[in-house]
Structures are given as C-alpha cells and as structure tokens.
Symmetry: C2
Subunit: 375 residues, 2 copies
C-alpha cells in the first residue's frame, strides 16, 4: 500500500498548489471537500459528486457514531463501501459537532460526555474513542480530537481550551498509532491571538502530524478577523505537509484563504444553499425563488458546464423550487458543488502559472457585476 504524501508543485505569493497522494487516489490542492454528513452528500449521488471534480469528501464522526454507528459501518465494510465512494474520505473528530449539536454536554480532561440529538442516548467522546471511531469508519485522513470555543471568547478561556486540545492532540497521536496509507492531522487552536496560535503550532510540530489544520475559525469572528489570523497562522505550520482550514466557507472566504496559503477546505454551504435556492455563480449569488426568474429561458450561468446550467432554464429551476420538487435540491446542489470545484480548479491553474493575482481580480470583478439583467 502506498503511503500518504504531499507534494508542493508551485507557489504564487503565499498561495500554493500541489497534490496529496493516498492509496485511494490523488487530491489536487487547493482542494474543496464536499460534506457527506450522514454518509451522503445531501441530494447528490456519489458519482455526481465525483463528476463535479471532487477528489475527497468529508464525513462527520459525530453523526456517523450516532447513526448508523461506527461498529456497524465497520462490519459493513467501512464508510467508503457503505456510501459507494471509492476516493479519499476525511473525517472530523466529532469534537466540534458535539459542542454545536449534542445535548447535556460535560467536558473534562478525559473527554466529553453528551446526549445524542437523535434519540437522547448517552455517549462519550475522548481522543482515544475518536481515533477508534475514525479507524472503524475507514477514514483516510483522521482529525485529532479537539475542543473549540465559539468566538468572541476571552483570551484566558481560549488559552485553556487550546492547551487542553494540545494534550488531546498528543493522546490522539498515541491512540492513532502507525497506520500506513492513513494520515493523522493536528489542529491548531488559539483563537485570534497570535501568541496562542504560535504556541499551538509549536506543540503540534513537536508531536508530529501528516498534515495540519487551522481550527477555531469561521466560528463567528467575521471574514476580516479570519483573514488577519490567516495572515500569520498557516506559515506557523510546516511547509511540506497540507494545511487545512476547517469549515470554510463562502467563495470569497475560500479565495482569501487560498491566497494566504491554505490547501484544503470543507463547508456545507454549497449543498445547504442548493436546498434553499441560493445559487453561487461567477456573478455572485442568485436567489432562484425570486419571481424575476419565472419566465427566464436562460441558464443560471451560460459558461457553467453542470447539468443544471446545460439542460435547464432559470424558469424551470424557479418552478421546481416553488413546487418543492426534489429535483430542485438535486440540480442546485450539483450546480453549487460544480461551481466550488471550478473555483478550485481555476485557482490551481492560476497558481501553477504564476497569475493568481490576475485570477483573483477577475474573480472579484465578476462578482461585482452582479447577476445578468432581467429580460
């Protein structure tokens, strides 16, 4: 079995492009990972997710441990087989979602106990159990179990939380063991405080991981503050391994993060927005439920190659959204994921050819135009 590796192919400013190699295939970076929360990217067939250009998707430990259960997925041959996705899967550790979704949480040095939001059953997550669950799922890229305060939070709370996460990172590393072909990523914490980010990065490098995430952002701090942190945080992490910004984001968040040296991202936004009628295009966001589309024979984006744009009018997409037909979520999710992957491909090409600044200017100019004029 081949090993997990990262090759940096080109840089342009701080932006990077490269390839992560895994036994399940290559991941072209910068990479956007669609989120397959409960063993499905909502409204999508997995072959359609692959058709958008996704090299990897993200699974959620918290959801999968509750339903259908990690031991069950293992008995059934692992998450890839279960959900019919042969390419790489990254799983989060469950820590973040326990804090945002579960009931009756109790946090100790040992870990977190909580009640399931599905059926009220009691569960425990620790670094050791999180590693075990992610192993049972068959995850290719495993995330350390961590704790992450919502922002804004006072610096003392952020520092304590970061140091707890670093002790958990060490326990995660020990529990993960040696698993050729599988990667373990550490997660930098420290909120918006540069000294804490530096302390966290130093500790993670000391432990040693196959990749490093910037955690604790996109939790309420706003884009400006996030970019300020990204102006220093990625470069505190090793250059020769991937850097992953968790839970980000909107198209302009993603472009700004890549510009600042991020290689991987994930977000539910393109799929969730697809189900609520929010469409991402080169000319900004289109709200398909708006009456202006009811008679419009034009595609969402005439330059887009996705099925929603190739085969349907805005009028049709408006109609099926208003009629609450499932094909609405199916087509708009497909379009949004296709748009996100096009965005990543555009950035990879621009970085390779040393024209990222021009590409970025085009990106912002397109959005500034706004949607096409009504007929």
């Amino acid at each position: 079995m081949s090993r997990f590796s990262y090759q940096l192919n080109a840089t342009d400013g701080r932006a990077r492009t490269g390839v992560i190699s895994t036994p399940r295939g290559e991941i072209r970076t910068p990479a956007f990972m669609p989120v397959g929360t409960a063993a499905t990217v909502k409204a999508m067939m997995p072959e359609s997710v692959a058709a958008t250009g996704a090299d990897i998707l993200l699974g959620n430990t918290y959801h999968l441990m509750l339903r259908p259960g990690a031991e069950r997925v293992d008995r059934l041959g692992g998450l890839h087989k279960f959900m019919n996705w042969e390419k790489p899967i990254l799983t989060d550790s469950g820590g973040f979602q326990v804090m945002s979704l579960a009931g009756l949480r109790k946090l100790t040095e040992q870990g977190v106990t909580f009640k399931s939001h599905v059926d009220g059953s009691k569960h425990e997550l620790t670094p050791e159990r999180s590693m075990e669950i992610q192993r049972l799922l068959g995850s290719d890229i495993v995330m350390c179990f961590d704790e992450c305060p919502a922002l804004p939070a006072d610096e003392k709370r952020v520092a304590e939380s970061m140091r707890l996460s670093m002790r958990w990172a060490e326990r995660s590393r020990d529990a993960f063991g040696d698993r050729p072909g599988h990667a373990l990523f550490g997660i930098q914490q420290g909120g918006v405080t540069q000294e804490l980010r530096a302390e966290s990065a130093e500790k993670l490098r000391e432990i040693g991981f196959d990749g490093y995430a910037v955690g604790g952002l996109a939790v309420g701090e706003g884009q400006e503050t996030m970019f300020e942190v990204l102006d220093y945080a990625p470069e505190m992490l090793p250059e020769d391994t991937p850097r992953y910004l968790m839970g980000v984001g909107k198209p302009d968040d993603i472009v700004g993060a890549v510009k600042r040296g991020i290689d991987m991202m994930d977000c539910v936004l393109p799929s969730r927005s697809g189900r609520t009628g929010q469409v991402f295009t080169r000319r900004g966001v289109v709200n398909i439920k708006n009456a202006r589309h009811a008679d419009d024979p034009r595609p969402l984006d005439e330059e887009c190659g996705c099925p929603a744009c190739r085969n349907y009018s805005r009028a049709y997409l408006h109609h099926v959204f208003r009629a609450q037909e499932m094909i609405s979520g199916m087509l708009l999710t497909w379009h949004n994921l296709h748009y996100y992957q096009d965005l990543m491909a555009g950035m990879r090409g621009a970085i390779s050819e040393g024209r990222f600044a021009a590409w970025e200017a085009d990106f912002h100019a397109g959005r500034a135009q706004g949607d096409i004029e009504p007929l």
Copy 2:
C-alpha cells in the same frame, strides 16, 4: 414529420406486444409510463428515468396549468424542453385530477370550474381548454377531457357521466383538429356495467381516435372487479390502435391488465412508494424502514441491475431512509421504476415468444416466496 402509428407485433392469448411510433421515438408496448406530475418525475433526473427503460412519461394537465402555467411552458419552448425529456410525453386531460384535488368544483355541460389547490385561484376546464393546454404543453399523446365518478356509484349516475364524457369526447376531437405526429386518445367510461362500456366504446369508435383508454377503473372498485371489466372492455376497442389503462397500478394489477389486452399504463405508485420506503422486488414488497435491514449487507434484489441494488446494501438504504436523506427517495424511486420497466420488458419478451402463461406463473411464484430470510 412522421405520423403517429401503432404496429401490433405479436399476441399470446389476449396479451399483445407492439410498437407505437411517434416523431419523438418509439414506445415499446406493453409500456409503463412513469408520472412526471409537475414537470419532474419526483426524486429522479430525467436521464435516470430514461435509463430505467421508460420510453414515455406522463404529465398532468391539472398541475401544469396551475403551476407553472400552460402559456408559460409554451413560451419556454414546450414541456419536453422545459423538463429536459426528449422522448414522447402523454398528458392527461385534467378532468380526473380536478375531481380529486381541486376545491369548489362546479360541473356543467360546458365543463368544470374550480379553485386551485395551490393558491385558491379560480379556473375553468372544458374540452376545448383542455385541448388547448395539452397543445401548449406540446404533448405527443393528448387525452380527451372526461368526467369520471368514483366507484361504487349507482348505474344511473355512471351512465349520465359516461354520456357527458362522450359528448365531451366529440368536442375534444373537434377542438384537437388535425395535428400530424400528435395523437388524440378517446376514453371509454361506463363503470363496471358491460352495456355502458359497450355504448361508450361504440360512440368513441364512431368519433374515431388514434388510441383508446379504458378510464374509470382503479377508482376504488378493487382488483377482482377491475379484472372482470378488463375481461371484456379492451376487446370493445379497436385492435389496430393502442389500449391504455389509466392510473394502474400495482405490479400484479399491471400483469393482469396486460394479460387482458392492455398496451399502456401509468401510475404514481413506484415513485411515491420509493419516497415512503416501499420497495418492489421479484419477491414482493420490502419495507426498507424495518429494523431487520439495519445490518444487512445484501442488496435489495441481487438480480436487479439498478444503482440501488448494484452499489448499496440494504443496511445503507435503511440508514438513509431513517436519517431522512434525499438519496433514500432517489435510490428507491430509481429501483422501483427500474423494477416496473423490467416487468414490462419481461412481458414483452414472453408475449413475443408465446410463453406469457409460463412467465406469469414465474411472476406469481417469485412473489409467493416472499423476501429473502433475515441473516
């Protein structure tokens, strides 16, 4: 433009197989038509509907006239283009659904006035307006506007209703005019009374249509009564044009109807059942939400070639149904439509080769076995 035609290729007992030719492609009969109520077969992409083997689908005049509106569909290039389905489309006349769905209905010799179930707006349907709407939609096979009482109903009511429908059939024929490449089907009424069915058939033959439907069945009379009517009703209709049984049905209804000389059918059952977790297989109905499937690594039906059976376990299908994920409806609808099309293909082959009786015995034997044993 080629004309609409029907070629009868073989018979086996009363069962028939043949081909309907239209400018938009051939329809192999006996044919099952998936229902695309609001310009979409729910939970399916149109290319997936075609992949199941469907040669034609059905659109609902009542739904489409209310939303998005027939004039709008026409401005947008017709229903085929609107919903990205290039093969033939049959549209019903709206009469049946007005009676079952609309509010404040008022029936006169002229037609029906009613209130929309979508927004309460007031509308009128007459034979002339129904023909106009079906023309605006671009339907390949247009159905006469008719009235159909729920069964059981007293014979006098059924006779009056049938005679009104025959007067409307004549008005439909006049309003349809001469449209090469497009077909108009008459609809036989008369409930469960042989004399009324004969009177209706005679009137329709006198007017002259491109095909004939057996209407007014599957409205509460039960399978045994329906088969009694089908023992005589189809043969009252011309042999050299297609015979269409409207709104039928369950797999064994369909087999019994084909056995009795029916060429075309439509029903929401396979798609609706797909969304509620009811799965049709060679061994009968499987309820995917049953806990017995939670750990079952086997496919729904190991001999089925649909994506749900080729790529997923019962355990996965159970999980996504319980988690209310959209892929559940997508996969189970696909399977059910595939099953229905396999059924039709099996009957077409058996009739061609003069072995329909043996095929039918196998069909019933498979269902009598019941589902595979739990592991």
